[in-house]
Subunit: 148 residues, 2 copies
């Protein structure tokens, strides 16, 4: 296991989200090798359909750095971001996006609208999908299996 | 002029945004014929790239109604929503979207990724574009002309 593994932190945020009854997705924002924000989904907790883990860490990071642009930041998230989060990642000028499981139904990066491949997309982060894919996907599968 | 004109309220929020140095876009959320939230862009003010007028009124409306779904709500916004806001509108189950100016470069509804036309989009609001289009577009043009 890597010494510095933001995806493991994202996975632990996803696990805590599941305990709160949220779809288990976790995200971590890294600025110059330091984790500056981490969160799981908080949609139910906040009654906020925009409270996806990615949007929350972007907002936390921007507030912390007092800057709406996060050019030196990388985002780690356990699930492929949706179109809302992908567009926010682009607006925030995130440098690299690392995600875990692919999301055929709800993803907006490698699936659906493929936001970063749109000609109107101004900033495209480097994208690496499939990081700790198995653990990320299994956590989601276990959550939905229990609820069925 | 209509007696009940939420788009005029959205336009006045856009004008206030311009005074704060924000791109002049305003939004209004209507629940059962009552305005329950209104805002302009607050990206600069909050150092938050997600602080688009639409996202702000959706979050305000959900907090007010203590519900992440706004099935009986209509959204009025002076500019065609971007992909981030369009996806949030879909997640929030907004009933109808009325927008002013079309946005060829940044829009995500009738331009770019056309979010609501994606097969993976679960909820599509009714969409009416071009409401008070001239006033909405002129406010944006005046803002950018002054900054050039």
């Amino acid at each position: 296991m890597a010494l510095f593994s933001p995806m493991n932190t994202a996975l632990s945020e996803a696990a805590k989200a599941a305990e709160r009854g949220e779809v288990p997705v976790g995200a971590v924002l890294v600025h110059r090798s330091t984790v500056i924000a981490q969160s799981g989904n908080r949609i139910v907790e906040l009654s906020d359909p925009t409270a996806h883990a990615e949007l929350l860490v972007i907002r936390m990071g921007c507030a912390l750095l007092d800057n709406p642009r996060l050019q030196e930041c990388d985002l780690y998230v356990t699930l492929e971001p949706c179109a809302m989060c992908a567009q926010a990642i682009s607006f925030a000028r995130i440098r690299r996006l690392y995600f875990g499981a692919y999301d055929v139904k709800g993803g907006g990066v490698e699936n659906g609208p493929r936001l970063f491949q749109q000609p109107t997309c101004h900033h495209r982060p480097e994208v690496v999908g499939g990081i700790s894919e198995k653990e990320c996907a299994e956590m989601l599968q276990a959550f939905f299996k229990e609820r069925r």
